[in-house]
């Protein structure tokens, strides 16, 4: 399992709750004009945090981007 994941925002689904901005304020910001979440820096997170974010987004707008492989492969966990 990769230990990092890239995220994306489906603007059509976003309802601007702001859960993403609350949990990952460096990456997401709800735009005051459009009322939807925008990505303001590289949306790459450790898998656990990425999955928690996807789970906690009420509208399903925050998604794992399956088309983009994130950072170079890291050695598998041995523990």
């Amino acid at each position: 399992m990769t230990d990092q994941m890239r995220l994306r925002v489906d603007a059509g689904l976003c309802i601007g709750v702001g859960q993403c901005e609350l949990l990952e304020p460096k990456i997401f910001r709800v735009d005051d004009d459009t009322g939807t979440s925008t990505i303001v820096s590289a949306p790459i997170l450790p898998s656990r945090r990425a999955e928690a974010l996807v789970d906690q987004c009420p509208s399903g707008a925050i998604q794992i981007d399956p088309d983009v492989s994130p950072t170079p492969a890291t050695p598998p966990d041995t523990d």
Binding site: L13, I15, V17, E21, V30, G35, P58, S59
Partner: protein, 412 residues
């Protein structure tokens, strides 16, 4: 096909005069699959487990909010049309309505109201302390959230008492015994077309329309002005949508937080060791606020309607079946919570469903409610204001709102 096993009664409103029927919910949760609850001419599936509640909430296409309404009973077509609001719509209508108001309620924008909230909380708590206690609901739990939500929306705070009075009548509309005459507040609309079947909804609609007209001619930098401007645009918000959205914002923006604050005070009175924990921590942590919310569960249920044949926890659910999520059950699901009947302000990982099960209908005011509760507790803590309940709370006979009409608290 054999008929499904039947649920014990969890809908008779008078049950709730004694509090939430936890014994029945535990029984329902322990039963494999879902139980069927007879209701009027039909019935509904009882969704009680945490996992099932989440499954239903997160699949808004499969479990619709718009079909038949979110009540236990179906609304007639004309009532559905007249009462259509952000609560009982699906995408794309829901998305459009939600985006019109979402930005006012993001965590960042809610933080801007912290000072206003603190000022109101300080005033109410000082008055309460000087009075040596009294009815916690009318003195603190009700006035705090109404004043804050009116400030956030741009509604004159001087009208708070009137709008609380209307809210009280709306809550009464969820019971078996509403007291208002059909023509109260000059109402001429057929009651089935009004939210909660209450003439107080007519009064709230009228109030919102009057305020909207004022903002149209004299715009301000507030939510009401943004909404009437969206209405002016033509295709962004209809007149009926404006009415209903205003109604939801005012009602849900005060009643639910009021209920949470009432139950919170009762919980700290029942579990004084938990208040002592906060005192020794010297601060209000996020887990304390979340536990208060879990404990209170202000809204008792929401209904969805299956748009296709499916299954839940192994029970087949047919297209058109009603499924009703009972949040107090999910919030005490032993599969998720250790000692679910303990009120524990240090409880970790508390993904409660007091704001809904985590789908697109996730409570719009969640961050506002959390902020209000945190600030109120902080100001109680700084005043060393420990409360002790005197006598029983006067509860609302409703299977929808976990309401407290009044509860006497003395200052320790």
């Amino acid at each position: 096909m054999t008929s499904p096993a039947t649920s014990p009664d969890i809908v008779s409103p008078t049950i709730y005069l004694q509090g939430i029927p936890h014994r029945e919910f535990s029984e329902i949760m322990a039963h494999p699959g879902l139980l069927w609850h007879p209701y009027q001419d039909g019935g509904f599936w009882v969704v009680s487990r945490h996992a099932d509640t989440k499954t239903v909430s997160k699949q808004p296409k499969l479990f619709s909010s718009a079909v038949g309404h979110t009540n236990l009973w179906d609304l007639e077509a004309d009532a559905l049309e007249a009462r259509r609001s952000i609560i009982d719509t699906d995408a794309p209508d829901h998305t459009r309505l939600r985006r019109l108001v979402s930005k006012a309620f993001t965590p960042r924008n809610i933080n801007l109201w912290e000072n206003v909230t603190r000022e109101i909380a300080c005033e109410l708590l000082d008055d309460f302390r000087h009075a040596g206690g009294g009815d916690w609901v009318s003195m603190v739990a009700a006035p705090l959230p109404i004043r804050v939500i009116l400030s956030v929306l741009g509604v004159p705070v001087s009208d708070a008492d009137y709008l609380v009075e209307l809210s009280n009548y709306l809550v009464e509309g969820t019971t078996d015994q509403p007291s208002l005459a059909a023509d109260a507040f000059g109402n001429t609309t057929d009651l089935h077309l009004l939210p909660f079947g209450s003439p107080a909804s007519h009064a709230l609609f009228e109030y919102g329309e009057r305020l909207g007209a004022k903002r149209k001619s004299d715009p301000k930098d507030d939510v009401v002005t943004q909404l009437v401007m969206a209405e002016e645009d033509g295709n962004r918000l209809s007149a009926a949508e404006y009415r209903n959205l205003f109604h939801v914002l005012v009602f849900a923006g005060n009643e639910t937080t009021r209920t949470a604050i009432a139950h919170g005070a009762m919980a700290f009175s029942e579990f004084p060791d938990q208040w002592k924990r906060l005192e020794s921590d010297g601060a209000i942590s996020a887990p304390a606020v979340e536990e208060l919310l879990r404990w209170a569960t202000p809204v008792l249920h929401m209904r969805r309607t299956a748009t296709d044949d499916t299954e839940l926890s192994g029970t087949p659910v047919a297209r058109g079946d009603k499924v009703v999520m009972w949040y107090p059950a999910a919030n005490r699901d032993p599969a998720v919570y250790d000692h679910p009947f303990d009120f524990d302000v240090r409880r970790e990982t508390n993904l409660h469903f007091s704001f809904g099960g985590g789908g697109p209908h996730f409570c719009l005011g969640a961050f506002l409610a959390r902020m209000e509760i945190r600030i109120l507790l902080e100001e109680m803590l700084s005043r060393k204001l420990a409360l002790r309940q005197v006598g029983a709370a006067d509860r609302v006979a409703s299977n929808f709102i976990h309401g407290i009409l009044s509860v006497e608290m003395e200052v320790m």
